[in-house]
């Protein structure tokens, strides 16, 4: 079915990216970051976990581009390996909250009534919490595991998707083309999933892109305060937390490189948002 959002092809996407150079640059930057995260561990000559104490705390050099940490591990190898985990956590969390949020929000926006009011109040209550504190509480209660970071990040993102989908669907709910869909024999389920939600997607895509950056920060933040991945595992948040102890001694590279990776990926996701929306909106096609 050509109603799938990406249909229309690469040529169109390229055309839009040409008009949105900043988004294009962000996309390229992200592609490089993700590819490095995927392939990097195979290319890197150093193991990100095994310690090599004699080599500890060396500044960036030809052998160790980003220096070594307090256990003599190559910082660059660890930054690359950490990217895998951080991207995976963020992607999983955002996909989860997007799918669940769009369905709940879509159903509420379409049905209205009592369920809608109750879901709305619960969402309001969720949003009234300081979200990071909520995530901390959830990980602390459920246990210090990667899945739990994903769930916690997904849940704190959920309210935005529910609200967005609900509002956008309820605006379109009385559109003539929804009536037409009903006259063509589509039931409520299909109307929400096949008609209404795809029309809401362009707006949501921006949210997804912004959220991915935010989710990375969130995962790193949880690890930074010790509620997340366990220490030997490379992860940007832990690396910054561990490196912070040495920064007063002038060992800046322990913090700078994971911090830089974190900043760049968040920045790229944020910049990509606008370009993604234009790409998914068929009205931009001429």
């Amino acid at each position: 079915m050509s109603s799938t959002p990406i249909a229309g092809g690469w040529r169109q996407s390229l055309f839009i990216l040409r008009a949105n150079r900043l988004s294009a640059a962000a996309g390229v930057g992200l592609l490089i970051l993700i590819l490095t995260a995927l392939l990097g561990p195979m290319l890197s000559p150093y193991d990100p976990i095994v310690s090599d104490v004699p080599q500890a705390l060396q500044p960036p050099s030809a052998a160790h581009w980003a220096g070594t940490d307090q256990l003599g591990r190559d910082v660059l190898a660890r930054v690359i390996a950490a990217g895998r985990l951080d991207f995976a956590i963020a992607a999983a969390a955002v996909v989860l909250s997007f799918v669940v949020g769009a369905l709940i929000g879509g159903a509420c926006g379409y049905r209205g009534g009592r369920v809608d009011r109750w879901v709305g109040r619960i969402v309001d209550a969720l949003m009234a919490f300081p979200l990071f504190v909520l995530a901390m509480a959830m990980v602390a209660a459920l246990g210090n595991r990667v899945e739990n970071i994903v769930y916690a990040t997904a849940i704190i993102n959920l309210p935005f998707y529910i609200r967005f989908a609900r509002t956008e669907v309820s605006v379109r709910r009385h559109a003539t083309w929804v009536e037409a869909a009903s006259a063509c024999g589509n039931g409520p389920g299909r109307i929400v999933t096949r008609f209404l939600l795809p029309n809401v997607l362009p707006g949501m895509a921006v949210q997804i892109s912004l959220n991915l950056g935010w989710a990375i920060l969130n995962a790193a933040g949880l690890s930074f305060i010790g509620l997340g991945v366990h220490p030997p595992t490379p992860e940007w948040g832990i690396m910054v937390a561990e490196g912070a102890r040495f920064i007063t001694d002038g060992k800046w590279w322990l913090v700078a490189f994971p911090g830089l990776a974190l900043m760049l990926s968040v920045l790229c996701f944020n910049l990509l948002g606008d370009g993604v929306r234009d790409m998914l909106d068929p009205r931009m096609r001429t």
Partner: protein, 541 residues
């Protein structure tokens, strides 16, 4: 002849768009004398509104006057500094817009808004401004003016909002009034009242009127001269009598032919396929909303197989509600809807999409563009009912889609396009093809041509008429446009406030209306009384 009030010479305007500069006006020239009424008639995209906006230099940021002259009295509008223009606008030349409700500030009472217009150009105290605003409301014949002064736009009807706009426009006694589609979207009786008011005010105050409209008959009825525009050029300018009796340009001839009139029919109704037995029978239908509003009360009618019944009424008459109830998109509160002897009204609207009857009743919506899912291609839109209700094999679906598109006159090459890539007429064809796809027996047509230009409307009406004959369909044709109903329907049902006022054969009702309301409706249709040379059997273009 006196010196013209407004003179436009060789005006060219272009707009900056994604595709580069697009020329909207290709050198137009016209003039309006003091006290004269000039109509500018054209279809969408002809540049008539751009002309009006340029005359006040109110083009939006993307638009630019590339060459030409606009002179208002002695002022060179093209070159004048913004400060000079601000003094002119509202005081010497003012404008009223298409959608009065959108043109008014929703959070300010109308009295204050009229006072704003007055105080922008004259030093008046608030009390004096209020007194003058009241006088203006009385001049635009708003009943109970003192009370309406403190009303907000949403508390007033569309016709009343337009009267307020007129009051604001004439507040400073301008010499030129530009009316851009002032009655589009208003009911036909309201349209007549507003136009009568406008022509009386301009006559009394010796004001020049530039009336911009898509309705040739309306312009002919109210204007001394009519200018016809097409594709940013002036095609011809003539007094209405000449325009109708001896149109010199081919486009004017086509436009005159396409405009439905009080006497035009597509082909004799007698030639319609023999009327069969009763297909749809609506008995004592009623609809009361949760807040107690009665939208429809005790409406009964029948539609025979192969017959076309017109449902006529103004906004709020319940005609749209009836069409939705017959389509089973909305539940009725009372009464029965019998289709071929089965009470389809008994199936709740929420479950009707699963009913085997779903494919028997289909609908063509008012605004074709609005009725198509923006993310479906034309093919997907037409295939949608087939996928839900018809054959499941994709080859059969594709064949049927192609067949329906062909029947509706939609080129196969356009099937992969999205709605925004299609013109208004093409979207209407997609909507018709979709309704035909599942081979319904009853087609509900809800103002299917209301959003279309007259020349496209003529083609679509012709298409609908031949489809009915060829496929043996029954039509329930909902419209506010009596001329259109006359062209397509054998019988007509006139509705007012949710009740049937009159019903009968179309010829009978139009020739000898028994209800006063029907007579008023017929009298309100704008029409040019002069001789007509061409009778409308519209031809495609």
């Amino acid at each position: 002849m006196t010196a013209p009030l407004l003179r436009i010479e060789d005006l060219r305007v272009s707009f900056a768009t994604r595709q580069g500069q697009v020329q909207a006006l290709h050198g137009i020239s016209l003039s309006v004398s003091p006290g004269e009424t000039l109509g500018i008639v054209g279809e969408s995209g002809s540049g008539k509104s751009v002309t009006a906006m340029a005359a006040m230099r109110l083009l939006d940021r993307a638009g630019r006057i590339t060459s030409g002259r606009i002179a208002f009295r002695d002022t060179d509008i093209v070159a004048a500094p913004e400060r000079v223009l601000r003094r002119l606008r509202g005081a010497a030349m003012s404008m009223i817009f298409q959608n009065p409700r959108a043109a008014l500030n929703p959070i300010r009472s109308v009295g204050l808004q009229i006072a704003d217009a007055l105080r922008a150009h004259r030093a008046l105290s608030a009390a004096d401004a209020r007194r003058e605003a009241l006088a203006l409301l009385e001049q635009v014949k708003i009943r109970d003016a003192a009370r309406r002064l403190d009303a907000y736009p949403h508390e007033l009807s569309g016709g009343m909002c337009q009267r307020i706009m007129i009051a604001m426009a004439i507040a400073c006694d301008p010499a030129l009034l530009i009316a851009d589609e002032p009655t589009t979207g208003l009911d036909v009786t309201t349209q007549k009242a507003v136009m009568d008011l406008l022509s009386q005010i301009t006559r009394d105050r010796h004001m020049a009127l530039l009336l911009i409209t898509h309705d040739l008959a309306l312009a002919a009825q109210y204007c001394q001269r009519v200018t016809v525009m097409q594709h940013g050029r002036i095609v011809e300018t003539a007094p209405p009598a000449e325009l109708f009796s001896a149109p010199t340009h081919a486009y004017t001839r086509a436009l005159v032919a396409a405009s439905p009139t009080a006497t035009s029919t597509l082909r004799p109704h007698a030639a319609a396929s023999p009327i069969g037995k009763t297909l749809l029978s609506v008995e004592h239908l009623g609809k009361t909303y949760a807040d107690g509003t009665v939208a429809v009360a005790d409406v009964s009618f029948t539609v025979a197989a192969g017959e076309s019944l017109g449902l006529v009424g103004e906004s709020g008459s319940g005609k749209t509600t009836i069409s939705r109830m017959v389509c089973r998109l909305v539940d009725a509160s009372l009464g029965r809807i019998m289709l071929d002897g089965d009470d389809i009204g008994a199936i709740p609207a929420a479950d009707f999409h699963r009913s085997p009857w779903r494919s028997a009743v289909q609908i063509v919506f008012q605004d074709a563009g609005e009725s198509l899912n923006p993310r479906f291609t034309a093919f997907d839109s037409i295939a949608d009912p087939l996928r839900r209700l018809g054959p499941t094999r994709s080859r059969e679906i594709a064949a049927r889609v192609a067949e329906c598109a062909d029947r509706a006159g939609l080129p196969t090459a356009l099937l992969h396009r999205f709605p925004h890539q299609l013109s208004g007429g093409q979207k209407a064809r997609v909507g018709i093809a979709r309704a035909l796809a599942i081979r319904p027996r009853l087609l509900v047509l809800d103002e299917p041509t209301a959003a279309l230009d007259v020349s496209v409307q003529a083609i679509i009406l012709d298409l609908l008429d031949s489809l009915r004959r060829d496929e043996g369909l029954s039509y329930l044709f909902v419209s506010h446009d009596l001329n259109v109903v006359r062209m397509l329907c054998e019988r007509v049902l006139v509705l007012q406030h949710g009740r049937v006022v009159e019903q009968g054969t179309t010829t009978e009702v139009f020739a000898r209306p028994t209800a006063a309301y029907t007579a008023e409706l017929i009298a309100s249709i704008p029409q040019y009384a002069g001789a007509r040379v061409t009778e409308a059997v519209p031809t495609g273009n």
